[in-house]
């Protein structure tokens, strides 16, 4: 699969501090999460990919274009939703987004049409003629998303898109991001320190810590493997006979207290078969759950120091 972003020993120094330290990774997912604690270098990485910071060594390629030699071309592919407030307070929302789309190269009439569309899409259709300075925080976040998608980018950078949003607004924002992702017309990079946001929107995760790649995983594969990992709570049945029957189906098992069983399903085996075996053995399956919080496990493991402390 072609890389969306390829980091090739990318190092960024700001003043005397090295913020990104020889990052090397090839990100291929449709939606990629950038995770890390505050100060890990997530925003610096996005800013470097946008050309705001010059790499001190190494480089990166976005959809095959080198950020050092094809910076302008790279930026023409990107839609950027920054972390902080970014707007011109005295301009109306639709006027501002239209101007931004025109600066991206859209002719005036197309830019106007798409600015209106983008505002309706993010749910700000009714307030699009109001000055941006009068918007609430949630509206400003949505307006930032509107300007990021109005010109139809190939790659969307979302830097902490749910920052400062109340729960309903956060849900709405996540839904919008999922909708954009599921249409499949563009790739997106979501930078966040919120595991839930990344888990809900991304299929690949790059975890940064102190400017280094702490972990890189394919969430989709993790989810697939987790779907094979089950925890059961059972009642009744003859000791051990249910476990034996399940193992004969090819499952790996481990028993816990009070009828709790952990098992890994082999490929091709449906969960329904477990219920059938349980019925034959007169065993009640009181609870069946898939393993959850895989990203949290991965994240905590990535944040651990050599001595095992966070």
């Amino acid at each position: 699969m072609d890389s969306v972003i390829e980091l090739d020993d990318l190092e960024v120094r700001l003043g005397s501090r090295t913020i990104l330290k020889k990052l090397k990774a090839s990100l291929t997912g449709r939606s990629i999460g950038l995770l890390g604690p505050n100060g890990a270098g997530k925003s610096t990485l996005l800013n470097t990919l946008l050309g705001f910071h010059k790499p001190s060594s190494g480089t990166a390629r976005i959809l095959g274009r080198d950020i050092r030699t094809h910076a302008r071309e790279v930026r023409s592919l990107i839609g950027y939703m920054p972390e902080n407030d970014s707007f011109v307070a005295s301009m109306s929302g639709v006027h501002f987004v239209r101007m931004m789309a025109e600066l991206s190269g859209l002719p005036g009439e197309h830019a106007l049409e798409r600015a209106h569309e983008a505002f309706f899409y993010v749910g700000l259709g009714e307030v699009r003629y109001r000055n941006l300075g009068t918007y609430s925080l949630g509206m400003k976040q949505s307006a930032k998303l509107a300007q990021a998608i109005a010109h139809g980018p190939k790659l969307l950078f979302l830097d902490e898109p749910t920052n400062g949003l109340d729960p309903p607004a956060r849900t709405r924002m996540i839904q919008l991001i999922q909708e954009i992702r599921d249409r499949g017309d563009l790739n997106l990079i979501l930078s966040s320190h919120l595991l839930r946001d990344v888990e809900e929107c991304c299929d690949q995760v790059l975890i940064l810590k102190d400017g280094n790649v702490a972990a890189f995983c394919n969430l989709e594969e993790e989810r697939r493997s987790n779907r094979r990992f089950l925890e059961l709570e059972t009642r009744g049945g003859v000791n051990g006979s249910f476990l034996e029957s399940v193992e004969k189906l090819g499952c790996e098992t481990a028993t816990g207290a009070q009828g709790r069983i952990k098992l890994i399903l082999p490929d091709g085996l449906e969960v329904r078969r477990l219920y059938e075996v349980a019925a034959q053995q007169d065993v009640q399956i009181r609870r069946l759950s898939h393993k959850r919080d895989s990203l949290e496990d991965i994240f905590l493991k990535a944040m651990e120091t050599a001595d095992g402390r966070l």
Partner: protein, 300 residues
Amino acid sequence: MAVYKKTYRPYDGSLTPSWSRFLVIPRYAFEDLQRSKFLTIFFWASLIPPLVHAVLIYVQHNASVFNLVGAQGANRLININVSFFLSALGWQSMLALFLASFIGPGQVSPDLANNGLALYLARPFSRVEYVLGKMSVLLILLSIMTWIPCMLLFGYQGYMEGWDWTKANMRFASGIFFGSWIWIVILSLLALALSAWVKWKPAAGGLIFGVFFVAAGFGATINGVQRTTWGNLFNIRFLIGSVWVWLFEGNANTSGGATFFGSSQADAVPLWCCWAALATLCAICLYMLARKIRGMEVVR
């Protein structure tokens, strides 16, 4: 697609040429400026002095106008010479200073005040294009106020006097053109740089006047205390005046133009020092812009 369809779709239409995108900025800026009645009135009122000068040229060549009001021979009191054109350009340049201090700060500071600059520069749009776009607003408006009406006055006088006069005084035309552009570039750079540095419109507007008048006062103090003329290097009006007088008159200084700018022979500093001081001012402005016009400000 109709606007009520709430779905995301990619854009696959045509794109404008990348060289033309910086023109988007002045277009939006002019739309914004048009909304200010004060600026619109001020701008059009600033064209009254050239109109008055045009009337002076007309009556100077039409003695019958004075005869009608019983002032025979009064036209001989009007001299269309270097002082005439220098004063025409001088008044326009002062009005240009006021206009630049009104509209200059509004160009960059609103983008910087709420970090809007990151959104401009996250597009296929460079810092140079951004500055050029913002500067072009001032370049166009100040051109309409300065060299364009003055060149029309020169053309009108040439039309009245004939080709021989035009040929003999071609230096006035080049003086008007190049002198105006030096002034326009300095004003524009200064307005944008101070606007970028201060980020607050009223303060930036006040600072532009400060640079002109407070710095001149500081220079005068140096002159007074040190009994020297080098303090004039802080006086932008003096510097630009010296350059203009040279552009209009060359080395054959008649002192007529110099009087207008208060740059008498006694205060003179070498011309190359004036050029160097103006170039230094431009370099400082460019440095300030290079420091401030960035997608992301790095706090070290």
